[in-house]
Symmetry: C2
Subunit: 268 residues, 2 copies
């Protein structure tokens, strides 16, 4: 690349972001609606004067939270990373925080360059007659059914490895096939590889953690809805194999609510 | 009391409530604004058909949360407590939860009958360049200054016992003197007795817990603002005695933000 080209495109920025998705209509910018992408673009513009469209590692849906979402974009004007981070956090609402800001190589792209992602899903088991505290309710799926956690763990283990996850893709064909959802790499069709998939107890919460090379739209929430069906005794754990084989959304469980889902981290 | 009078006034209900105060303009009902009292009155009406004005143990301000607020009111129609509790939680937004519902003696009044109250105030110490996660920010005061906790603890200890807390009462005379704020018992003027007052570390949080026979409007937040001044080195702990003696709001520190304050419990 010549110095001239470099000047033209400026610096390629990589941000790591946390957000509370409750009051946003998801990642993707939409006219007259609060979205993470639009809110971030506004803050960048207020700090630098430049209007850019930050690219996320994937679109999170309305109500989905993130601990380590990654976004990338080019800026012409130079700015020290530490100042940029602080200035962004001053302009952003406190529901969105920038954890890291750095200049990366020009070939880096938050979505295309990602190698793996980790999501966590939080369930709050409600005791009989119990309630979920308001400050927890925004970040969990509160469930009053008794759950057989051992069975949920067995079911979670069965999705590890490389599978066609069509049965767990969003049933809306427009959503299921839109190219950049979640991973933008259509060469694999609906085949994804899951490296880690398991439940753990964390205080009063039950947390599902899944790490994979990519995820179809709604995939984590559809997996969780299906594991909960297993936990309630409506499915055997071994039914997971049958459901995967069926390659049909109608075989799997319902989509778990967005509020319990956190994009935990993205690996490059 | 005759059977006739009993029929006329119905049953005296006592509710224990939790709420996230972020999206409410405080406890007290106001036209066209979301308040806890108004929201609870609406839910009671939807469940029972009766319009009542629930009396709280005290008015919490906009943005203040509660783990154990208590409200009382009379209802004519009989309803089993367990059903009432469940029905209320179905009608209420999830930012307000009813933890207990019971019928109590007719002389019980959530405010007039209270003997002691406990508040907690949560500080989140920010490391240099650190951020406060969005799911914590609603419930803490995030502070970037280094704090001398030992000095804050010493200062907190000095307000225990019976004192005139005029220096820590809201400076707005209308607020400071309105009769039911916080405790409604004007015979004591601005004299209150504090039974417990101390800081503790809880994970990454610094929590102030105070238990007293009553609190003036803004009193806990003004105490916390003053303790933080001590923690920052702007006051000696021993200045607390001088500030109390001055009986002047201008001697004490700033009012700490509402978001960190929780009404923990009320004793009868």
């Amino acid at each position: 690349m010549t110095a001239d080209e470099e000047h033209k495109i400026g610096s390629n920025w990589k941000l790591m972001l946390m957000y509370d998705g409750t009051d946003f209509l998801g990642w993707q910018v939409q006219p007259d609606r609060a979205t993470i992408q639009g809110t971030l673009a506004d803050a960048i513009q207020r700090v630098t004067g430049e209007r850019v469209l930050p690219q996320g590692s994937g679109r999170t849906d309305a109500g989905v939270h993130a601990r380590g979402q990654v976004a990338s974009f080019f800026l012409e004007a130079p700015i020290p990373a530490e100042n940029f981070l602080r200035a962004l956090n001053r302009k952003l609402p406190e529901s969105v925080r920038v954890l890291q800001a750095e200049i990366v190589g020009n070939d880096f792209h938050a979505r295309h360059s990602s190698k793996a992602k980790t999501y966590e899903y939080r369930i709050y088991p409600l005791r009989a007659g119990g309630v979920c505290a308001p400050w927890k309710a925004r970040y969990v799926w509160a469930l009053g059914w008794p759950l057989d956690v051992e069975r949920m763990q067995e079911a979670a283990g069965l999705v590890m490895g490389t599978h066609d996850f069509t049965s767990f893709a969003a049933s809306d064909p427009d959503l299921a096939t839109r190219r950049d959802n979640e991973e933008g790499d259509d060469s694999a069709g609906n085949v994804r590889t899951i490296f880690e998939s398991g439940w753990r107890a964390d205080g009063e919460l039950l947390i599902y953690r899944v790490r994979g090379d990519g995820f179809l739209h709604h995939m984590v929430r559809n997996l969780v809805g299906t594991f909960v069906d297993a936990g309630r005794g409506q499915l055997a754990a071994s039914d997971l194999a049958r459901i995967l084989d069926a390659k049909s959304r109608s075989e799997a469980g319902a989509t778990a609510p967005a509020r319990g889902l956190f994009l935990d981290s993205v690996e490059y």
